[in-house]
């Protein structure tokens, strides 16, 4: 079943930002290996990956704080690879917000406009507007340290929005906030993205955040792009083992392919068309149904149950000793630890992973 992208770029419009063969070496270590990436105008693209995957380096190259070893960067079709950072039409929201501690909220937000030599009246008007947008009008004359973490985050956002850059980069901006606040801010960012129509590149290592926010996700690993696609595409059709394992929970079975079957150590699974030697088959925990023992594709013993409200995760040890995860929706009686179960799934739920 082909998955339709939720995002439909306007036909005939070239990408807002193009990364062409950008590579970064620090001495002998390569942190980015010749990356190609197009960011469409008005989309919210997430750079997602574990720490050390090169996502922050890529972000710093895009905003001009780090110079790439080779490759070029195009913004609106212009080569801006070596344009100084202060001359790019880019806004950055930093991980620790980087609010100027000696300036008030208002002065912080006015700073980029002063740098652009806007008339004072215009500056006042725009600062007031953007303060309204992030609901911080009452804090205008306070110093950053008098604000809560969430408020500081919104000031950082406002300082970036106020000069209307056509691309906004966010480097793990919600990392320092607690879970509840993070979810509120995610909704806030989505709203502001919709209202301003800005192109946003958002860096995170939190896959749930990426799934919740993004139009598209660019999944990175070890300095290369593992997969680019909508959250749905990446979750439902992971292009490779890394994608499958990094996003969501997954169970992967390996084995030789013979007679249209994948012969795993714990049982045979019908192979999928197009499988090659070395490929594995993946099934998500929520697609596995528990059956009576000796029914279904394979069987095992429940070794652990983790209750999580809306669902319960079961750890099932298979005959070979391999553990797999099964997710049971709430309302179904939970199989007790030590009970023998069979595992079954719809053939359509199976994906090839390479």
């Amino acid at each position: 079943m082909p998955i339709q992208s939720q995002f439909s770029p306007q036909a005939g419009i070239s990408p807002k930002l193009s990364v062409r063969g950008i590579r970064k070496d620090y001495g002998a270590t390569t942190v980015l290996q010749a990356i190609d990436l197009d960011v469409r105008s008005g989309e919210l693209l997430t750079l997602l990956g574990p720490s050390g995957s090169g996502k922050t380096t890529l972000l710093q190259i895009i905003c001009g704080l780090v110079e790439p070893t080779s490759g070029s960067l195009f913004i609106d079709g212009r080569d801006e690879t070596s344009l100084p950072v202060n001359q790019r039409d880019i806004g950055v929201v930093f991980q620790n917000y980087a609010l100027f501690p000696h300036l008030t909220v208002k002065e912080n937000i006015a700073f980029p406009l002063q740098m652009r030599r806007l008339p004072v009246a215009e500056i006042d008007k725009r600062v007031a507007e953007v303060l309204d947008m992030v609901n911080l009008g009452h804090t205008a004359d306070r110093l950053p340290k008098a604000l809560s973490g969430g408020q500081q985050q919104r000031v950082a956002l406002a300082r970036c929005l106020v000069y209307r850059p056509s691309v906004i980069l966010m480097d793990e901006p919600l990392g320092a906030l607690d879970r509840k606040l993070r979810e509120t801010m995610q909704i806030e960012i989505k709203r502001i993205h919709r209202e301003t129509g800005a192109t946003i590149i958002f860096v995170t290592h939190d896959q749930e955040e990426a799934l919740a926010l993004s139009d598209r996700i660019c999944l990175m690993n070890d300095g290369v792009i593992a997969q680019v696609g909508t959250p749905q595409e990446i979750y439902e059709a992971p292009a490779n083992r890394f994608s499958a394992e990094f996003i969501g929970l997954s169970n992967i079975f390996d084995g030789a392919i013979a007679d249209g079957m994948l012969r795993s150590a714990d049982g045979d699974i019908p192979a999928v068309a197009g499988m090659q030697a070395g490929d594995g088959l993946m099934v998500r925990p929520e697609h596995i149904a528990l059956t009576e023992p000796a029914q279904g594709f394979m069987s095992g013993t429940v070794t652990e149950t983790v209750y999580a409200g809306a669902d319960t995760r079961l750890l099932v040890a298979l005959e070979s000793g391999k553990s797999i995860i099964v997710r049971q929706a709430a309302g179904i009686p939970i199989a007790p630890i030590g009970s023998s179960v069979g595992l079954n799934w719809q053939p359509s739920a199976i994906r090839i992973v390479r």
Partner: protein, 578 residues
């Protein structure tokens, strides 16, 4: 980082601040009481009744007024020079990668701990008619021997040279505490390099700049070594005046009046500083204050225009080939400053090993004859031994009193803790010469003048702040939850101290002791007054000889001081935990 409250007990519990008691008692007895006595005396006439005669005399006589003007203008000029040269140096250090900074810091700290006497003696030799510079200038055909000594210019230059490490090291913590990400953030918001520096980094570094200015200015007020060695009679300052009035004329009223005036100015400067930044910013702590009103607005306007000027200048410089990347300019400047800091001190090495009968550079031949002269002179060896003894005793006393006081202040929850902190810092804030005169006044009444004990007691007093601050920092950074953890693991109170607390803080206590030792070993002012010309310490012996005649024996003595200071400094830095 909330610490768990220990289970509350019904019985009365003493605040740990009482541990500061012995130190406080010492400070009151040896500093507050005699200083107050001296002040009191300045408002009496010879018959003992209240009078302002002394002050009328002081402000009436043209010579005294001239000395006051000299002192303040030299102190001001020195402060400005130190800030102008020290800021780029501190900025350069702050921007370095941590590893390299640690290495370069050694080259700043070493001249910081080198005695002022040594540094000024070096300039005396280098800039004299027969000095290196004069020889080079003559060699280049600039006319006969050039005398670069004895003038306002050289006094300010050498004083700024002496105080520069102090200025740079005071500014550094503030500059280091500024998040480098802020300048980067400013650039992403459209600021040029100049704008980012002037609007963000510079205002944030102001508390450090002001602290450095404060310390340099206060130290300069009572400073007499440079004007005495390198200045002409026209550069006479308060310090020299005090020495003559007290040592030769025993004019206590005038000495008291001068001390009062120095104190008043010092306190006024400190108060202004406290209003603007909060006094705790001296120790690198960020204050929460934000200046508003007229001055802040003027400051903003000035900074905005300076930033514009830099932008224009940068635009002009961009046209010049080779100046497009200007980072190397700062490097070059700072390397030059470092060379200037170190060379005058290191130049003694070859000169002390020279064979001719006067100081020359480069020496024509090498010999150990001046070390032999030093070794065979009972004056020099006696002074050296005495300095060692006094330094060990005063460092021990200061470490004991300062150490337990630091523990008490760090653990105290009482508000009086801040008062105790200020009291312990007092010997650093009050000009040394005032302390020396006050001690002389006290000791003269109880027969401690011209005794080793008197000098040691005085050195203990001025070493206290050094030792106290080093140990206090350690206790403030100490994670007391470790002690709680040890207790939960079954350790007794003593066991915790022996196995956990002491091993962790030991290094800094040893370092504090060694820095206290260095402080005493190089101290001149108190030794000058309290020693009474009989009990000669090594710096005092040097001082007398320098005034009398510059001889190669002095260079040999300098090398010995240099060696001791370097060894103790390296040991102290090694002991200090990172």
């Amino acid at each position: 980082m909330a610490e768990w409250q220990s289970p509350s007990r019904r019985r009365f519990k003493l605040d740990p601040l009482w541990l500061a008691g012995p130190g406080v008692f010492y400070l009151v007895l040896l500093l507050i009481v005699p200083a107050a006595g001296l002040m009191f005396l300045s408002f009496r006439d010879s018959s003992g009744s209240l009078s302002f005669e002394t002050y009328r005399q002081m402000f009436g006589a043209g010579i005294y007024v001239q000395v006051l003007i000299n002192t303040f203008s030299i102190a001001m000029q020195t402060t400005i020079a130190c800030l102008l040269v020290g800021y780029p140096l501190a900025y350069w250090l702050a921007k370095m990668p941590e590893k390299r900074r640690r290495l370069v810091m050694w080259l700043v700290l070493l001249p910081f701990w080198m005695s002022a006497l040594l540094k000024n003696f070096a300039w005396m030799v280098l800039l004299s008619r027969r000095g290196v510079l004069s020889q080079i200038l003559t060699g280049m055909g600039m006319g006969g021997p050039v005398d670069l000594l004895y003038g306002r210019g050289v006094v300010v230059f050498a004083m700024a040279h002496t105080m520069l490490p102090l200025a740079a090291l005071t500014m550094l913590p503030t500059l280091l505490s500024i998040d480098l990400g802020l300048a980067r953030a400013a650039k992403t918001l459209g600021a040029s390099g100049g704008q980012a520096f002037w609007r963000i980094v510079f205002p944030l570094s102001m508390p450090g700049v002001a602290a450095a200015g404060l310390l340099v200015f206060i130290s300069s007020l009572g400073f007499f070594i440079t004007p005495a060695l390198l200045g002409s009679p026209r550069e006479t300052v308060i310090g020299q005046l005090l020495i003559t009035q007290v040592q030769q004329l025993l004019n206590w009223q005038l000495a008291g009046a001068i001390a009062v005036m120095l104190l008043v100015v010092t306190l006024a400067v400190c108060l202004v500083y406290d209003r603007a930044f909060g006094i705790s910013a001296v120790s690198g702590e960020r204050s929460d204050r934000r200046s508003t009103g007229l001055f802040a607005r003027i400051g903003t306007v000035v900074i905005a225009s300076v930033a514009r000027v830099t932008d224009i200048l940068a635009g002009v410089l961009d046209i010049v080939p080779g100046l497009r990347r200007r980072g190397w300019l700062l490097d070059a400047f700072c390397v030059l400053v470092m060379v200037m800091l170190l060379v005058p001190v290191l130049i003694f090495l070859p000169m002390a090993f020279g064979s001719s009968s006067f100081l020359e550079f480069p020496p024509r031949g090498y010999s150990l004859r001046w070390f032999e002269t030093y070794w065979n002179s009972s004056n020099w060896t006696g002074a050296t031994m005495r300095s060692f003894g006094i330094a060990i005793v005063s460092a021990l006393l200061a470490s004991a009193m300062g150490g337990i006081a630091a523990f008490g202040v760090a653990r105290s929850k009482s508000k009086i803790g801040n008062v105790a902190f200020l009291l312990f810092m007092l010997p650093m804030i009050i000009p040394n010469i005032v302390i020396a005169v006050a001690l002389f006044y006290l000791f003269a009444q109880i027969g401690l003048i011209a005794t080793d004990a008197g000098i040691a007691l005085g050195h203990t007093l001025t070493a206290l702040p050094v030792v106290f601050v080093i140990i206090l920092t350690t206790f403030k950074n100490y994670d007391w939850r470790l002690d709680q953890a040890a207790a939960t693991l079954g350790a007794t109170r003593m066991g915790t101290v022996r196995k956990v607390t002491w091993p962790i803080v030991k290094g800094s206590v040893v370092a504090a002791f060694l820095f206290g030792f260095l402080h005493s070993f190089e101290e001149l002012t108190i030794a000058l007054f309290v020693g009474g010309g009989v009990r000669q310490t090594l710096p005092k012996q040097m001082w007398d000889d320098v005034l009398l005649q510059v001889s190669p024996t002095l260079a040999a003595a300098s090398v010995i001081i240099l060696a001791v200071v370097t060894i103790v400094f390296v040991a102290a830095e090694h002991a200090r935990p990172r």
